[in-house]
């Protein structure tokens, strides 16, 4: 079984933009197949893996969602062999100029994002202005004829930054949002191989979180879990976000969500567990909503009690996202401990009178 770091490096080297997750889904399915009793794919392409519990039937169900889609770009128009681009997911255009990319045309083509010189831009964009995506181009180095044979409108463009290991157990690359959580969920499933749990566990790698929360809206509908947990990334403290209450220490453990998008009983259970395990952790208050699949999952059909567990990550939505491998391992361990400790009547015992 692959270790977390190698699995994660492999996952972030595979394309899997929102709506086009197949390449990374296949890799995750390979990793999960030995860890699950059943594997299936939802109508929108989410990966569903079931680990049956040992409790008596009918067994309650826990769903853990980690979105597998990543942000990137898409060809919107081809002009003289240069590619105009639009975003898939939320991208600050200011990080784009000079980025190496891969254009997924008839075959994968290396390219670079260009910022045209000021004289080719409208007069209102001066030297200090941010250049919107509309004005940027991707240059593949090929002639216009070659481009029109190999690339067309709608083709995807992903970041080409290869994974980097910086010291202190950190990993850097694109798509760590949210492949880091997929790796954490995988670590949890590995731990469960050697442990007993009463509940059925559905590990779900959701699609399209970055665009429509599509997987979050649809996977719980037929699975109808009794509880749902979203595992995602949150902001780690660093340049520009050091004093922000919405940022947490890199390497200081998983972050537990609190707010209207979270069921207080689930927060309490995770907080008590993290303290009992002496696991470094932090609490993230989210006044309105969590910015994760939990937004959707909480209000599917009759409603589902939800929890959000987050992994701190620097420079979110850039090709140089940074994450701590320790945080990923701790998250996987915390999830496994929660699952093995889940009693059959946990939901029945939830009371709102506190």
């Amino acid at each position: 079984m692959e270790n977390t770091k190698d699995l994660l490096k492999r996952l972030i080297s595979l394309p899997g933009l929102s709506g086009y997750e197949t390449p990374v889904r296949e890799a995750i399915a390979d990793a999960w197949r030995p860890l699950a009793d059943e594997i299936s794919v939802s109508p929108l392409g989410s990966l569903h893996a079931l680990r049956r519990g040992q409790g008596a039937e009918p067994r309650p169900r826990l769903l853990i969602a980690a979105h597998m889609d990543a942000i990137g770009l898409m060809v919107s128009q081809i002009v003289d062999g240069f590619l105009r681009i639009t975003e898939v997911g939320g991208i600050d255009a200011r990080i784009l100029p000079g980025q190496p990319v891969i254009v997924h045309g008839r075959r994968d083509l290396p390219g670079v994002i260009l910022q045209p010189s000021p004289r080719l831009l409208p007069p209102h964009l001066g030297e200090k202005s941010a250049i919107e995506m509309d004005y940027l181009f991707v240059d593949t180095g090929l002639t216009p004829e070659e481009v029109s044979a190999l690339v067309r409108v709608g083709d995807l463009v992903s970041f080409a930054q290869p994974p980097l290991e910086l010291g202190g157990d950190t990993l850097v690359g694109h798509s760590l949002d949210n492949r880091a959580s997929v790796a954490a969920l995988t670590a949890c499933l590995e731990e469960l191989q050697h442990r007993r749990h009463l509940w059925d566990v559905w590990a779900v790698a959701t699609v399209q979180e970055e665009e429509t929360l599509g997987g979050g809206w649809t996977s719980p509908f037929n699975l109808r879990p009794d509880l749902a947990i979203a595992v995602d990334v949150t902001h780690a403290r660093g340049p520009g976000v050091n004093q922000d209450y919405r940022a947490f220490g890199l390497g200081k453990g998983p972050v537990l969500g609190w707010g209207p998008n979270i069921h207080p009983a689930l927060f309490k259970a995770f907080k008590n567990l993290a303290e009992r395990l002496d696991l470094p952790h932090a609490v993230e208050v989210m006044p309105r909503h969590s910015g994760t699949d939990a937004i959707a999952m909480q209000v599917v059909a009759e409603g589902i009690p939800t929890m959000v567990i987050s992994i701190p990550l620097r420079y979110m939505h850039t090709p140089v996202e940074m994450v701590s491998l320790k945080d990923i391992q701790r998250t996987g361990h915390l999830l496994a401990e929660f699952i093995t400790g889940l009693e059959a009547d946990f939901v029945a015992k939830i009371s709102w009178e506190d």
């Binding site: 209450y245 609190w258 707010g259 209207p260 998008n261 069921h263 609490v283 208050v285 006044p287 309105r288 909503h289 909480q298 209000v299 599917v300 059909a301 009759e302 409603g303 589902i304 009690p305 709102w352 009178e353 506190d354």
Partner: protein
């Protein structure tokens, strides 16, 4: 319903209770106490909605859902600073200009605190031209206030409810008026309908409770009971006020359209015909903007014909709202007569 017989005690308790979106426990407690003796089935769902059903006598009966939201707009503490000062964020739609210089209640223990403002002496005329930014405001629990509250605690305007002549003043009249109305209607539920009372959560942050409540209840039709802003003050230049939305003293506000729902015309017609038949004053809430739980309800399952009826209130989403007892009484009356007269025939013709 006579204005003399209005359940003012109940409204007072509801208005004074603290229930910011996501933290409706205090209101839920009052509601549960009130509805348990009145309903055949009561349940609290995964989001904290209270669903109370009074079955009909005889089948098949029209299933009617009525929704009133328990949550209010408020604040959440997000960070603690030195000396009893706390940073906060707004939950729901509050104009930040409503915040400076206000007392608040913080947390489950209602700790008294204040949101201050820079003294005028230390400001410049230039500065006073712009609104005070919400990020610069803090909740102050006093010099001994350190560690008394924590991130995640909610805070509300510290406004005690009171009756003032023909009006009531209090916080959270949006939508404790609706909640009190719904309890009153449940007490008098007509026996030919299945009466589905949904006391919803998290309306102010996206109509979230109503969505799952409607899915669970699966009604034939639905009414949302809310409060709507009455912007009926004089205009700055004395010209005709054409954007009042609703007006105090003009009766319940019936919605044809708001920002979230195009009301089912069959339900609107029925409401207006009922009002006319019983000489109940009413107004049409000005189309456009805003939203009620009906916005989530009408899109559930295969579609649920829906409409909203609100009590007009001045200064909604601020420290002190004002409503007329007459308007509240007429809202209850309109809904009582409507429910009594409702039959499945209302849905026989196509929506038009």
């Amino acid at each position: 319903m006579d204005p003399q017989n209005l359940p003012l005690d109940l409204l007072e308790r509801l208005s004074n209770a603290c229930g910011v979106s996501g933290d409706e426990g205090e209101v839920r407690k009052i509601v549960l106490e009130a509805v348990k003796p009145l309903a055949d089935e009561v349940k609290v769902d995964a989001l904290g909605n209270v669903l109370a059903i009074k079955k009909a006598r005889g089948e098949p009966a029209l299933r009617v859902m009525l929704a009133a939201h328990m949550d209010e707009v408020g604040l959440m503490i997000v960070d603690e600073e030195e000396g009893g000062l706390y940073k906060f964020e707004i939950v729901g739609g509050i104009d930040p200009r409503q915040l400076p210089g206000k007392p608040v209640w913080v947390g489950k223990d209602r700790l008294p605190g204040v949101i201050g403002a820079r003294p005028i002496h230390l400001t410049t005329p230039e500065e006073r031209k712009s609104a005070i930014a919400a990020e610069s405001l803090r909740i102050d629990l006093g010099p001994e206030g350190g560690k008394k509250a924590k991130p995640g605690d909610r805070a509300v305007f510290a406004t005690p409810f009171k009756v003032v002549g023909p009006s009531v003043m209090g916080k959270a009249l949006d939508d404790r008026l609706g909640v009190a109305t719904l309890i009153t209607l449940l007490e008098r539920a007509p026996s030919h309908l299945e009466f589905q009372a949904a006391f919803t959560v998290q309306e102010e942050i996206g109509l979230r409770g109503a969505r799952v409540a409607a899915y669970t209840l699966n009604p034939d039709l639905a009414f949302a009971l809310d409060a709507t802003p009455a912007n009926d003050l004089p205009t700055w230049d004395g010209s005709e006020n054409t954007t009042y939305n609703a007006r105090l003293g003009h009766g319940p506000a019936v919605y044809v359209a708001d920002g979230a729902t195009l009301s089912d015309p069959r339900l609107v017609r029925f409401l207006l015909q009922t009002a006319a038949a019983h000489h109940i004053p009413y107004q049409i809430r000005q189309p456009g903007g805003g939203g009620t739980d009906a916005g989530a309800i009408h899109r559930q399952r295969s579609g649920i014909p829906s409409a909203s009826v609100s009590v007009p209130i001045r200064h909604a989403h601020s420290a002190v709202a004002v409503a007329r007892l007459d308007d509240w009484a007429n809202t209850i009356n309109l809904m009582l007569h409507t429910l009594q007269a409702l039959t499945p025939d209302i849905l026989a013709p196509e929506r038009s």
